[in-house]
Symmetry: C2
DNA sequence: CTGTTAGCGCATTCAG
DNA sequence: CTGAATGCGCTAACAG
C-alpha cells in the first residue's frame, strides 16, 4: 500500500460524510461520541494520517516556526534551539531548523523557502555576512512576524532578544573585585562589534562603581583567538604592571592567556584569576580553573519563542518592536582555589 | 500588506489566465517568452511567492527529506547533517532536521509529524530507547522510503548506512602495530552493542594477521566514561604487564587513561601510544597527543542522502534493503612523538 | 448532531 | 501558445 487513505476513504467505509470525519478527527464536540469512536477506530484500522499540507493550506496556518541560525553545531545555538523547541512544543507548535553557515546567500534562500512554506513566524540569528538585510525587511509586508535573537538587524518594528553583554561584563568585573582584585586586565574584541563594546563598557562601569581607576594600559584589543590571549599575556607580563586578574571577552583568549602563564610557571589560581565569556562548554574542560560567563542560550531561545507566540496570537494588533535583554550567568570553577 | 498575492492576482493584473501564470512560473516551454517575461515582472512587482503548501499538495511531493537524529549538538550528527544538506540541496531538495533527544516518545511524534507533512523520504538515526520500532515498521505501508544511518533497526527491506567499526578497529590496531607496538591493550564497551563488538573484532583480527597472540588480560570492558579509562589504566599498571599501546573504543576513556598516566609521570608519547574512536573534535584539543579515529559523519550523511534520492526516484521499483559501510579515518596527532 | 457546498492556491488535463 | 475546467485533501460556512 503506498496509497494513503483520506478522510473520504474512511467516510465511504462508514457510509457517512467526510465532513463528519473531519470534525471527529479534530475532536469537535459536535459529533456523537458513538460515531466519533467508530471514526477513530476506522482511522486507526486504515492507518490514516492527516495530510497536513491540505490542512494547513485550508486553515492558512502551519503552526510551525522557522528558525535560522548560523550553525547548529555551535553550543550557544544548539542550546538556544533546545529552548525554542521546548517552548514551541508546549504551545503545540513545530519548529523547522535551518543553518545559514554564516553565508548571506544561503540565509536568503532559507528565509524565502520558509516563507514559501508559510511558517507562522521566523526566529533568526543573522549570519555574519548579513550587513544588507533587504530580504528580511521584505518580510514585514508578508505579515510573517520576525524576531531576532542574539544577532540582530536594525529593522523598525522588529523585536530582538539579546544577551545583556553590558551586565555580563559588569558582573564579571565585579566578581573579580569582590575577590579582592584591583588591577584587572580586560581582553577586548573589535569595538565595531556591539557585544565587545558592551562588555568593555560593563567592565569600565564596574571599576567606576568600586572607585578603581580605569587604566587604558590594562585593556588589550585583539581578535580574541587563543593565540591572541597567549601573546597579550606575554606582552602584559613584559610591561611589569601589577596584575591581579583578567576579564576576557571570550574563552579562547582566556585559555591562551592561561597557557602562557602555565608555561611561565606562574601559578594561575593564586596569582591571577581569569574570567572569560564562554562560547563552548569545552573551555571549562580544557581549563577547569577558568571561571566562565555563560550566555544561557536556552533561556534566550525560550524568551524569543514566547514572544513570538504572542506575536502570532495578536497578529491583528501587532506589537511594537522591543528589545529584551537576557542576563548572563557566572559559573565559578574551582572557586575555592581562585585567589585562595 | 499581510495579504499574499496568488497566481490569480498576477493573472488578473495582466488580463490573462492563472494557468498561464502557473506555467510561466514553472518555466514551461509552452509559454511565449514575451508573456513569460511580463508575468515574471509582475510577479516580482507584487512580491509574489509561490505557496508551497498548495503546490506540494497538488503535486503530491514536497521535495523535502526529513532527518531525525538524537541530538544536533553532537559533533558526529551535526557533521552528518552537513553532509545531508549538501547532497540534498544540490539535488534541489529541502531538509527538515529534528532531534529525538534519545527519547522514544519524541521520536514517534517526530516521525508521525514528518509523515503527516508528507516528506518524500526519511533519514533516521534512532534513539537509544528505540528497541521496539513499530512506528518505523508502519512507514513501509505509507510508501515513504526510509534509510537508517549510524544507528539502525533490523527492518526487512530498509537500507542502512553505517560506520565500518570492524575496519576502524582493525586499522587502529594495525596502525599501532606498524609503529612497533606488540602489547596492545583494548578498552572496550558493552558487547551487547554492535559497535563495540565490531571494534573489538577488528582489534582481534589485526592481531591475528600480524601473528601477535591475543591475550584476554589486555581487554578491559567498561562503560567507557573518562573515569573508566582512568581506573582501567590504574588496574592495568598494577598488573605489571608489558604495555606498548592502548586502543580505546572511544575518546573519553582514552583521555581518562592519559590523565592517569600523566599523574603517574609516565611519559605517554614515548612509552604508550593511545588511539581512540573520537566522538567530538574536542578530544584532540584536550589531549593533543591523542591519535583519533574519525567517524566521518559528513560522508555518512552524503552517502545516505544520495541513496535516499535514488530511492525516491525509483519509487515504483523499490530497491532491496542494503547495508553500506563507511570507512573511518585515522588522524594522527603529534605523530612524530609517538614511539619516537 | 450530520450533510451539503464551497474553496484554500496551485498544476494539469483537455480544448481550442 | 493560451484558456477553461477539475481536483489534490481538508475545513468551515450554512443548512437541515
Amino acid at each position: 500500500m503506498n496509497i494513503k487513505p483520506t478522510i473520504h476513504d474512511i467516510a465511504k467505509a462508514l457510509g457517512i460524510d467526510s465532513s463528519t470525519v473531519s470534525r471527529a478527527l479534530n475532536d469537535s464536540p459536535r459529533v456523537t461520541p458513538v460515531t466519533k469512536a467508530k471514526i477513530l477506530a476506522k482511522a486507526k484500522e486504515l492507518g490514516y494520517q492527516r495530510n497536513m499540507l491540505a490542512s494547513n493550506l485550508r486553515k492558512n496556518e502551519t503552526h510551525t516556526i522557522g528558525v535560522v541560525v548560523p550553525r547548529i553545531s555551535r553550543h550557544f545555538f544548539s542550546s538556544a534551539i533546545q529552548g525554542i523547541e521546548e517552548s514551541a512544543y508546549l504551545a503545540g507548535y513545530n519548529v523547522i531548523i535551518c543553518q545559514s553557515l554564516e553565508q548571506l546567500e544561503r540565509e536568503k534562500k532559507i528565509v524565502s523557502g520558509l516563507v514559501a512554506n508559510r511558517v507562522d513566524g521566523l526566529l533568526i540569528s543573522v549570519s555574519m555576512e548579513t550587513l544588507n538585510y533587504d530580504h528580511l525587511e521584505i518580510l514585514k509586508k508578508s505579515g510573517i512576524p520576525v524576531i531576532f535573537f542574539d544577532r540582530h538587524c536594525a529593522i523598525e518594528g522588529v523585536s530582538s532578544v539579546l544577551i545583556d553583554d553590558f551586565k555580563g561584563g559588569f558582573d564579571a568585573t565585579n566578581h573579580l573585585i569582590s575577590k579582592g582584585c584591583k588591577h584587572i586586565v580586560h581582553f577586548s574584541g573589535p569595538q565595531a562589534l556591539e557585544i565587545y563594546k558592551n562588555r568593555f563598557e560593563g567592565y569600565k562601569a564596574a571599576l567606576l562603581e568600586n572607585n578603581i581607576p580605569f587604566n587604558e594600559e590594562y585593556v588589550i584589543s585583539s581578535r580574541l583567538m587563543e593565540q591572541d590571549g597567549y601573546i597579550s599575556m606575554q606582552k602584559l607580563l613584559a610591561k611589569n604592571l601589577p596584575i591581579d586578574a583578567v576579564f576576557s571577552a571570550n574563552d579562547l583568549s582566556a585559555i591562551g592567556a592561561m597557557k602562557h602563564l602555565k608555561e611561565q610557571k606562574i601559578s594561575i589560581p593564586d596569582d591571577i584569576a581569569i574570567v572569560g565569556f564562554s562560547n563552548e562548554p569545552v573551555s571549562s574542560v580544557i581549563e577547569p580553573s577558568l571561571t566562565t560567563i555563560d550566555q544561557s542560550g536556552f533561556e534566550i531561545g525560550k524568551v524569543a519563542t514566547e514572544l513570538m507566540l504572542e506575536h502570532i496570537k495578536n497578529k491583528k494588533t501587532p506589537k511594537k518592536g522591543q528589545t529584551i535583554l537576557i542576563e548572563t550567568h557566572l559559573i565559578e570553577r574551582n572557586s575555592s582555589k581562585i585567589l585562595n
